[in-house]
Symmetry: C2
Subunit: 285 residues, 2 copies
């Protein structure tokens, strides 16, 4: 915890200024958690546009070129970029810098990054459960994390003060923090996010063009996430393949129970499954 | 078509005053398509509440007791009640009365009702693709059908003037009418509505209680329709079982393609499937 008149962070660096990174920047500025936000990415034109839009204050297109004024870094690049990006920025960071990320998969990333960083620089994994099928800093909002769960996933070797600082940062952005072991996060998210994505995509893929006119709000809601970026999702699904496959097995078993009841015309059995599903869904409201 | 100063319908009867029936009542009154709406149902208390809420003007709790002042009837009862309700109200109706419904399944209903009605009373099936996982006239709105597709499903034997009148009625409520053969409707809706419901229910059913906290907006959207009424959906799924099973086979094949790509770690193949899904979903916007 820091005193009320002093920002927790002087300069916040955001690596990958998209929906999530941009929303962290906006939320941290709006809540007075930092004085300056530097965006780091590859595309100068996009980064300048983010400056013009007031999402970040300055930018660098290369970690090696950036003046390392930051003491907190949020890495918002795709999951297959997080490890090299964290390593690169850790090399440039001053002692005491905390690095976290917003990746949807945590086990392999946290395992890899538990070794080989400079002693005085700390990485603690995070996954804010907020987002959209849309991309880009243009859809970033300062209230994206407000009231949402953020999973923080320390490794066994994580520095205790760095873990506390990570939790405190997300709480300051309005998140409700849930602390989990990285692999347990991946098992849970396979069921709550990755398998729903695959299922929504399969529904969308199985829709014949000739029947598009007859797809109403139910179909649209059920398949909305299938509009997500294919490259991001390839990386997520392959990074978490084992847990996704296991969760798909459980989904198949549940679907099979519905299917069997329909095939047999067993209204009692079908109603039982639909009631269980409704109770589970209603409990989320 | 009727003249602009004369309502198409003197009295509109709504059998089953729920979300859809109530919305038809509100929309028809607001657009001046009728002078009076009589609600017919089983529960006097609910019907009186619908009168008090201004959804209907009067009510009867028994078709046999109702003064048959109507010349248009919309049957909004569950799909397994539509055939007996249409037959009962047809017996009481004056010559020239048009009866339609809002059922989600059409083949068996339209086949059954193509025979045995009084000569001077006409039934034409309808399915407005509008609704919600919520129930009851309390959630009815006069603009529910505005800009939405309504499928009208004449039987081969349907009276041409009655078909035109049905189409004209839904268009007057703001719907875009698509005309289909009843069985073709059922095949298409199996894919665009019934299988998505089963899939959403299976996702919800497969969510362990311990992981509810980690279900964010993606999971919520994907499973929203699983909150639908189990009794309504038992009737729909069993009435359309053959088409639902065939469409589930196509869904399984699509899901299997994603799964195989994940199992093999084939990023190119997985991306191809995700891109196809995204294109299909984006085309709905």
């Amino acid at each position: 915890m820091t005193s009320a008149d002093e920002p927790q962070t002087g300069t916040l660096a955001i690596v990958g200024v998209g929906l999530l990174g941009g929303s962290v920047a906006l939320a941290a500025k709006q809540r007075g958690l930092c004085r300056h936000v530097i965006g780091i990415g590859r595309n100068a034109e996009r980064l300048q546009a983010a400056v013009d839009a007031g999402v970040i204050d300055s930018y660098a297109t290369n970690i090696a070129d950036a003046e390392p004024a930051w003491n907190l870094v949020v890495v918002g690049t795709p999951v297959d970029r997080i490890v090299p990006d964290v390593r690169a920025i850790a090399e440039r960071s001053r002692p005491g810098t905390l690095i976290t990320d917003v990746g949807s998969v945590k086990g392999a990333i946290c395992r890899d990054l538990s070794r080989g960083l400079p002693d005085s620089v700390h990485f603690v994994g995070s996954h804010p459960l907020a987002g959209s099928e849309k991309r880009g800093f243009e859809v970033a909002t300062p209230d994206l994390f407000d009231g949402r769960v953020c999973v923080v996933t320390p490794a066994a070797s994580s520095d205790a003060a760095a873990v506390e600082r990570t939790i405190s940062f997300w709480e300051s952005l309005g998140s409700r923090v849930v602390r989990m072991v990285p692999d347990a996060h991946d098992v849970a998210l396979a069921t709550t996010s990755h398998v729903p994505h695959v299922v929504a995509a399969a529904l969308a893929a199985a829709l014949p063009e000739s029947e598009r006119d007859l797809a109403a709000t139910g179909f649209r809601d059920t398949t909305r996430i299938a509009s997500g970026d294919p490259d991001l999702w390839v990386a997520i699904l392959l990074e978490n393949a084992a847990a996704v496959e296991a969760s798909l097995d459980r989904f198949d078993a549940a679907l099979g129970a519905f299917r069997e009841a329909i095939r047999k015309g067993d209204s009692g059995e079908l109603k039982k499954h639909l009631e269980l599903a409704k109770r589970s869904r209603d409990a989320l409201k």
